[in-house]
């Protein structure tokens, strides 16, 4: 059951390895984590792929548990070397425990973002990718960089420098972000301009429903093609359907 649900969601998302820059945006109270986990499953289907995962939103344990339900072993892949995990929040916490920083100065924040970028780049260079394999860079979630105080300009530069990697043939980027305040809107516009696929996860505008958890909008070709789906989050799976189809579940 879960397999069919996952496959159907992936079919709706229709992300392939040609799409070098995928942007996932979550609005208001929606949770777009399921999109990321499903896309990871798709990436890991190809044994030659490598993932560099920057985790800022959830813990390793969480992703591992979700992965188990979807059918992949995250920690096993980390041991294999297929997945590399960078946890900036844990690193910042460890540093805080070591020495008392008092107030974050701009200099400290600059160093943080430089350290993150350096860690990502060195990881990308250590990956040995075989022919037919892609390196996927996943960031979850970009808006946390604003939350820790990094300025708009620095985040833009960070994203530009990551985007520059996409000139390589086998490099893909997946960024997940939350849209809350104005800074988020500005960076989201900057990212929408460079993204190949833009996946929007939002709650229903009209309120709550027991049949539908939210709306999934997938935009490609710079706005050329737009697909809208409704999804229902159940305990073990996510069901996706066209708006209005919710009563006729296509799974039975």
């Amino acid at each position: 059951m879960t397999e069919i649900g996952a496959d159907r969601l992936l079919a709706c998302l229709d992300v392939s390895e040609i799409d070098k820059f995928v942007l996932i945006e979550e609005h208001n109270l929606a949770d777009s984590n399921f999109v990321l986990s499903h896309l990871m499953k798709q990436v890991l289907n190809n044994k030659k792929n490598k993932i560099c995962f920057v985790m800022m939103h959830n813990t390793v344990g969480h992703y591992h548990n979700v992965g188990k339900r979807l059918g992949y072993d995250l920690l096993g892949k980390v041991k294999d070397g297929s997945i590399a995990i960078i946890e900036p929040m844990t690193a910042i916490f460890d540093e805080l425990m070591k020495q008392s920083y008092g107030l974050y100065t701009n200099k400290v924040l600059d160093q943080m973002i430089i350290a993150l970028e350096t860690a990502i780049k060195s990881q990308m260079q250590t990956f040995k990718v075989e022919d037919g394999g892609h390196v996927h860079m996943i960031i979850d979630d970009l808006s946390h960089l604003f939350d820790i105080g990094i300025g708009f300009g620095k985040v833009v530069n960070f994203v530009s420098s990551i985007n520059k990697f996409t000139h390589q043939k086998n490099f893909n980027v997946l960024i997940n972000m939350h849209i809350g305040d104005e800074n988020d809107h500005r960076i989201s516009s900057a990212l929408e301009l460079i993204a190949d696929i833009h996946i929007d996860v939002a709650p229903l505008k009209t309120g709550h429903s027991s049949d539908v958890t939210g709306v999934l909008t997938i935009t490609k070709d710079g706005g050329g093609s737009e697909n809208i789906y409704h999804y229902k989050a159940l305990e073990r799976e996510i069901r996706t359907f066209r708006p209005g189809e919710s009563l006729n579940f296509l799974y039975r």
């Binding site: 070098k20 820059f21 530069n157 996409t166 809107h185 500005r186 929408e192 706005g223």
Partner: protein
């Protein structure tokens, strides 16, 4: 017309393309670069890269163009002043066309003031044939004043907006000619086989709109039967309303006497037990 102005000789000195997520300006940039390759092939094109533009790179447009990378990375952080010096040294060598992609990122890196003074210097320089830049409007607020300043600086500034009452997306441009004349137009644009085509936006005449508007058929608006067929109309015409005066003359009976005509089933006894009916 915009395509003609873009191909003018001498070309407009400072071109600014203001685009947004809804209408992207990449095609304009490609069009301008291609035009220069075709008509000004001799002049060197300097592409200042502040953001990796995958679409431009994938199309192979940057082949005969000199690309300079100004994307700020963690390893080689350069100060704004150093980068500006480098740009100014690049332009002093020979005639060139400077392409800034994108100005939004340049403003974020250098700051509004330094960007303005740099673009102003490029505009004043006689080695620079044209400065073309693309500015993403969504990345800034109106309050920052950025659009105001850079519009003032540019000789041909275009603002792209989505289609509205038109077939194609719209472009609102202001062209300041060398002689002093300023042309401001609103046109709709499209790229046909890679070539820019614009046409005027036709104003809709209210009279023709009303005339050509589809007639509203009330019956079609609802599932209820609100029209009458022939028999219904006859019945309606023949019906007499109860409280209207009748045609036949009625005898005026004085004193308020009520003249009652009995029906067949009415039972009336002609008797008066209480002596008050005056029968």
């Amino acid at each position: 017309m915009l395509p003609t102005y873009l191909k003018n000789k001498p070309p407009p000195k400072c071109v600014l393309i203001q685009d947004s997520v809804k209408v992207k300006g990449n095609n304009f940039l490609k069009h301008i670069i291609n035009n220069h390759k075709k008509f000004n092939g001799v002049v060197k094109q300097l592409y200042l890269e502040f953001e990796y533009n995958r679409s431009l790179n994938d199309d192979g447009l940057l082949k005969n163009v000199e690309k300079h990378d100004f994307i700020q990375e963690c390893e080689n952080q350069r100060t704004a002043d150093d980068q500006i010096k480098e740009i100014l040294s690049l332009i002093n060598q020979e005639s060139c066309i400077v392409i800034i992609d994108s100005m939004a990122h340049m403003i974020i890196n250098f700051g509004k003031d330094k960007t303005y003074s740099l673009v102003h210097k490029l505009k004043q320089s006689n080695k620079v044939v044209q400065v073309v830049s693309i500015l993403h409007m969504d990345m800034f607020n109106e309050n920052d004043g950025i659009f105001k300043y850079f519009n003032h600086l540019s000789t041909l500034s275009m603002k792209l907006s989505p289609m509205f009452m038109s077939e194609w997306p719209r472009v609102n441009y202001t062209y300041k000619k060398v002689a002093g004349k300023i042309i401001e137009e609103n046109e709709q644009f499209s790229f046909v086989n890679g070539e820019l085509v614009t046409k005027a936006i036709e104003k809709l005449d209210p009279k023709t709109l009303v005339q050509t508007a589809p007639a509203v058929i009330p019956e079609a608006l609802t599932t209820f039967k609100i029209s009458l067929n022939e028999s219904d109309k006859k019945l309606r015409d023949n019906f007499t309303l109860p409280y209207l005066p009748k045609d036949e003359t009625v005898k005026q009976e004085g004193g308020g006497l009520i003249h009652y005509e009995f029906d067949d089933i009415d039972d009336w006894d002609e008797e008066d037990p209480d002596d008050d009916l005056d029968i």
